[in-house]
Amino acid sequence: MAESEEEDVLVQRVVKDINNAFKRNPNIDEIGLILCPEARYNRSPIVLVENKLGVESWCVKFLLPYVHNKLLLYRQRKQWLDREALVDITCTLLLLNSDFTTAWNVRKELLQCGALNPERDLYLGKLALTKFPKSPETWIHRRWVLQQVLRECSPPSSDRKEQCDSGLRDAAERTLLSEHLHRVLHDEMKVCAAAASRYPSNYNAWSHRIWVLQNMAQGNLKVLHDELSSMREWVSMHVSDHSGFHYRQFLLKALVRELSQSMHHHHAPWPSLGSSSPRSPSPDTQPGHPHHQANGEATAAAPCPSPATPEDQSSVPAMPQLFHQEMELCTDLIQSFPGHETLWCHRRHVFYLWHHWRRDHDHHDGQGCGSESPQLNHTDAGLSSYPHTASPRGVGIDRVDSRNGQAQEGQNAMEVDGVGVPDPRNTKRLKRGPPDPCPPALPSEHGFIARVLEGCRSPEQGCFALAYRKWLDSVIGQ
């Protein structure tokens, strides 16, 4: 197909205009299409106003096929393009069509040979996401770039052959690297948050956020807890955002894992990176953070930005408090915003996590962790305070009997918002803050459901409450 020469010239000019715009203003933070069906006064279709870059829509139908075909000719070795041209063309292409995988791959190759900086691709991706907040290929490419960044910053591994890498990085350089990673991590959180705000229940943005924590913040209690705190307000303003709430479930689960690991000296070895995982969907036996590499190598401990200090650890509230706070948040939102399925799903998940944490703590107590300072195991100390759930007779999810065995249905019914009696042996706990919160328990949950149904004016709210009750009965057990 022969293109008119005029079109050729026009399009080449537009490509140049776009890239000059970036050179003129390195702070462009948003891109968009300007609905403009016809060219006017021979002006460039590229409009730069403050930090916003716009492309007038009339030129896109010439621009896209031209750059698209040009790139493919290059890929098929039918036409040579130098590095700078490749950078410009892929940039234009991806701003118009961010799911064009092959264009991202060309940039990967440019990155590998040093013609592109990882930061530029993170920046380009960030811009593309302002227009296409879900774009799967943009998120996928982002993860690859971050893996390159991590590799550059990671400690020397056994398959690095260069001598200069072997243990010669001094403390100062390590600190710089750690700070760099810290910035990268926080930038990622911001990019995810922006994309999540642009599109409701943005699965790709949130699963990316989880990936970042799994790969760049393993075991970092501070980061996990900071995320939990900072997301509170966001989810309260996005009560339908199932992915946002799932992120909190992920954080809680990760905190459970990390806090248990740090508390117990003698614990069952945690699954190492990339190893097999048990089949149970129980949260505590899920594998650690799988760290995948293209060639299958499991990395050694990946770099962790500002690893948690002992001070950090003690400033993170204990699990019962975290669960209590989460259930409280859930209760508030359910009452303030009746009829939101997401909130009830969240309740199921938090209750399930708490239920299994309690069960596993009872189990560990029974496995000779008695040498542990008792104040670290509240279930050991405060047995009389907390009603235990019965031996589960659910749908096969619960397989371990509670240590105390018998049910105490309704006997020690405690208000969700009530306060348990603190155990005098938990001195360390008392130092941290308010008395032990009362954990949610089956009787209190049934009480909550009854209250909701009683005051309920929304038919949907009633349905969700009943579904929750049914779920409690069949999945958790009477």
Binding site: I210, D241, H242, S277, P281, H292, G296, E460
Partner: protein, 331 residues
């Protein structure tokens, strides 16, 4: 004053009869204007687009209207030296389009257009130490790719090329407390991923590892008052979920847990009476993707005018019969 549950309202004048002829005409004419800007935009997934079009035509008994020779030549020129197949000429190879290519050629009983041994090598090479599969040489991990890998190999009769046990281990590590599956361990349950994982487990002969009651419950909670299905809580219904959710329910033997007639009404309402084809929800623009899944969904619901569709591979049952492929289903 009640809350607005996220859903659509089906208008009284929405289509209620199945317009198969119109859909066949729509697909037959699709892409005939190859200079179209929209067509260029979607070239990065062209192989899958062809698979959607051909499969729905075959389900409607209209496959002969498509140009087999042109398509076979196209596929041949999309296989790369590494054995993988790309979405279109000049694009990079990926397991997604490798599967689509093998599915298309299976419809035509002509897989030898490709170098099959090289396809097998490509897929084998994507498996990681932990059993997961990358999508291509760049390494992205997703349970979708586990499905693509085993489906491709199953169609070629070469499932032995990979470590199935390890692959199963990885997929099971993506099972969540609600019985569903996400893209990676720790990810949110999502109907599309659930379809891929249950399909995977079916092919791998490991469906007993699924908690069918729990997952079935999560899946049937996807049905909204309009009759349509969504992919996750508080999302709008979408006709493609009539496939992901429905096929998953069929695979785990719980399809009777949803209201079939309400779903059927919803799917039919997504048709466009003027242009043919199905949209994601009533009144929206149609496309081949939603057209396939609307028709396939209706097939699973027992629509007489449509051929039986296999819920695991989303291909006509008679094609799989010819190949001797009978992936497990729970009852």
């Amino acid at each position: 004053m009640g809350t607005q549950v996220k859903d659509v309202v089906i208008k009284s004048d929405a289509p209620s009869a199945l317009l198969l002829d119109k859909h066949a005409d729509y697909i037959a004419a699709y892409g005939s204007k190859k200079d179209d800007y929209e067509y260029t935009l979607s070239e990065y997934l062209r192989m899958s687009g062809i698979y959607w079009g051909l499969t729905v035509m075959d389900l409607m008994g209209q496959l002969t209207r498509m140009n087999q020779q042109e398509i076979s030549d196209f596929i041949k020129s999309c296989q790369h030296d590494c054995g993988g197949v790309s979405a279109s000429i000049g694009h990079d190879p990926h397991v997604l389009y490798t599967l689509s290519a093998v599915q298309i050629l299976s419809l035509y009983d002509n897989v030898n257009v490709l170098d099959v041994d090289k396809v097998v090598e490509y897929v084998r090479g994507l498996q990681q130490e932990d059993g997961s599969f990358a999508g291509d040489k760049w390494g992205e991990i997703d349970t979708r790719f586990s499905f693509c890998a085993v489906a491709t190999l199953a169609l070629l009769g070469r499932l032995d090329a990979i470590n199935v046990d390890k692959a199963v281990e990885f997929v099971l590590s993506c099972m969540n407390f609600d019985g569903g599956f996400g893209c990676r361990p720790g990810s949110e349950s999502h109907a599309g991923q659930i379809y891929c994982c249950t399909g995977f487990l079916s092919i791998a002969g490991q469906l007993h590892q699924v908690n069918a009651d729990l997952l079935g419950w999560w899946l049937c909670e996807r049905q909204l008052p309009s009759g349509g299905l969504n992919g996750r809580p508080e999302k709008l219904p979408d006709v493609c979920y009539s496939w992901w959710v429905l096929a998953s329910l069929k695979i785990i033997g719980r399809i009777h847990w949803i209201d079939k007639s309400k779903l059927r009404s919803f799917i039919l309402a997504c048709q466009d009476e003027e242009t043919g084809g199905f949209a994601d929800r009533p009144g929206d623009m149609v496309d081949p993707f939603h057209t396939l899944f609307g028709v396939a969904g209706l097939s699973l619901l027992g629509e007489g005018q449509i051929k039986d569709v296999n819920p695991v591979l989303c291909m006509p049952e008679d094609v799989l019969e010819r190949l001797g492929l009978h992936p497990d289903l729970l009852s």
